[in-house]
Chain length 296, copies 2
C-alpha cells in the first residue's frame, strides 16, 4: 500500500460537523477515496457540505448512505453513535469498515458494536484535535496535522482494517497511538474532560455575577479568564455527551481535584504560604515537561 | 506635557523581575527618564540589569537607591511591598512619587502608605500583563502594549502625580482605567486569581498521579490540559502573595465556583444532560462577548 493508493472506493460520513468536515477535506487532498457521501439529519449541513465540495452526494437516509461504502465514519456527538449505528447497520455491505472520532471510547464501543453484523470491522478512533467552533464550515484539512490520533480497537479486530484506517490518519498528518479503551478514557478525563468541565464552571460562575461586575470581567478578561472562555465555547451537545458517557473516570478525577482545591482553600484561609508556594513551584516543573514533550 | 518630554529626571525600580524589567525597557524607549537606578536584593538580578542595559546604576541599598529619585516603582512580589517601602521611605526626597505594579491593591495600599512620610505621592497601579516566565531577562518593552493598566489611587491623591504616572503607562501602550481598590480586587479575583488557582490545582492533581499515567497526561496534554500548565507555570512567590493578600475576594469567588462545580458533578452522576447542555450553551455566549470586547 503506497502513500498515494486509493484506500477506499467509497467513504461515507455520518455527521459533518467540525471533525467530519475537516477529515472530509483531508481525505480529498490525500486521495484516500474517489467518492464521499455525506449523511446528516440536518439539511442545512447537507447543503453546506455540497456547497463546500466536501461531498459527491448527500442524503438524510442512513441505509442509502452506507450501502456502497467501504468505510463509514461516525462523526456525530458521542451520545448518538449507537443510535445511528442501529439505523445504518442493516445497509452495510459485507466487509465494510466502520470507524468513529468520538472523545470517549468505552461507551461508543459498547453502543456501536452491538448493532454491527458479523463481517463488519469496527475500528474506534479519536483524533485529539479541535477548535471552539462547530459545523461543516468550521473545518479545515490541517486540523489533524501533527496531532495525536488514538486507536482503541478491541482485541481481535481485523489488523488489515486497522492498518487502512491508520493510513488514512497518517496521511492527514496525525501521530498514531494505540491504547486500551478504558485507559484512553482515564487519560482523556484528566487531559481534556476535567479541564473543559472546570472552564465551563468558572465561566458560568462569572455569568451569574451582577451585570456591572460581569461587564468588567469581560473587559478585563485578558488576565487568565479569557483562556477559559475559549475552552468553554466548545460544542455544548458534544460535551454534554462526553460527560454523560465517561461518567466514572470524570467523577473519579473530579473528586481528586476537589480534594486538592479544598486543601488550597484552607491554606489561603489560614495564611499557609508554604503550602501554596510548594505546589506552585511543583506545577511549574510539569510545564517544562510538557514543553519538552514537544507539545509546543 | 508633550509625548516626548522627560517625565522624571530619575526613576528607581525596586525589584527587577519580569514586570520591572519590561517597564524599564519601555521607559528607555519612550524617554520617560534620563536615568534609571535598579535596586534588587538579588545580586544576580542587579548584574543582569546592568548587562542588559536596563539600569544606569544598581544597588542593594534601599536608602541609596531612592535618595535622588523623582519616581520610585515597587516591582516586588505583593507580600513584601510594605517591607521595602519601610526600608526606602526614610531616603525619599520631598515631593517624590511612589508607585507599584502589584496584582492586589487594597493590601498593598495599606502596607505601603503607612510608611510614606507626608509630601510623598503614592499612585498604586496594576498593569494587566504578564507571561509565565520570570526574571529580568524575561522582560520585553512591548509587554504592556494594548493591555490594561488599572490605577487605584485613594481619594485625595495628587492629580498631577496621577497624571505623570498615567502618561508613563500611556507611552508604554497601555489602555488606562481608574478604579476603586476594593472593586479592583474583586474583578481580578474572578478574571485572574481564581483561574490561576484552578490551573495550579488541576496541574497539581495530575502531578500526583502514578508515573505511567502522568507521562501519558503530559504526552496527550494538547487536548486542554496544556493551556492550564502554561497558567500554572507563573511565578510561585508572586502568586503565593496574591492569594494571601486578596484572601477575602478569592475565598468568596472560590466558594461560588465550588457550589457551581458541585451542581455539575451531581448532574453528571445522575445523567442530567439538560443541566449540562444549558450551562454549556450559556458559556458559549460569554466567549462571544469577550471577543466583541476586543480582547482577541
Amino acid at each position: 500500500m503506497s502513500a498515494t493508493d486509493i484506500l477506499f472506493k467509497r467513504v461515507t460520513f455520518i455527521g459533518i460537523g467540525l471533525i467530519g468536515s475537516s477529515l472530509a477535506r483531508s481525505i480529498r487532498h490525500t486521495k484516500v477515496t474517489d467518492h464521499i457521501t455525506v449523511c446528516d439529519i440536518n439539511k442545512a449541513h447537507r447543503d453546506k457540505a455540497l456547497e463546500l465540495g466536501l461531498a459527491d452526494d448527500v442524503t438524510g437516509g442512513f441505509i442509502e448512505a452506507v450501502k456502497d461504502a467501504d468505510l463509514v465514519i461516525i462523526c456525530t456527538p458521542p451520545g448518538v453513535c449507537g443510535d445511528v449505528a442501529a439505523a445504518f447497520a442493516p445497509g452495510l455491505k459485507e466487509g465494510a469498515i466502520v470507524s468513529d472520532v468520538g472523545s470517549v471510547k468505552q461507551s461508543i464501543i459498547h453502543d456501536v458494536s452491538q448493532h454491527l453484523p458479523d463481517g463488519i470491522h469496527f475500528v474506534p478512533a479519536h483524533p485529539i484535535a479541535g477548535t471552539e467552533h462547530s459545523g461543516p464550515e468550521a473545518g479545515f484539512a490541517e486540523l489533524f496535522d501533527k496531532r495525536w490520533l488514538i486507536l482503541t480497537p478491541p482485541q481481535g479486530t481485523d489488523e488489515a482494517a486497522i492498518e487502512k484506517v491508520t493510513e488514512m490518519w497518517r496521511r492527514a498528518g496525525s501521530m498514531i497511538e494505540r491504547m486500551d479503551a478504558q485507559h484512553h478514557d482515564m487519560v482523556l478525563a484528566i487531559t481534556s474532560h476535567l479541564p473543559h468541565l472546570i472552564a465551563y464552571t468558572i465561566v458560568g460562575t462569572a455569568d451569574d455575577l451582577g451585570d456591572h461586575l460581569k461587564q468588567e470581567v469581560i473587559k478585563f478578561s485578558a488576565s487568565g479568564f479569557r483562556d477559559f472562555t475559549r475552552i468553554a465555547a466548545s460544542d455544548p451537545v458534544m460535551w454534554r455527551d462526553v460527560f454523560l458517557n465517561n461518567k466514572e473516570a470524570v467523577l473519579e478525577i473530579l473528586q481528586r481535584f476537589s480534594e486538592d482545591l479544598t486543601v488550597l482553600q484552607r491554606a489561603i484561609r489560614w495564611g499557609e504560604g508554604d503550602t501554596l508556594e510548594e505546589l506552585f513551584a511543583r506545577t511549574r516543573k510539569i510545564r517544562r515537561e510538557v514543553i519538552e514533550a514537544n507539545q509546543r
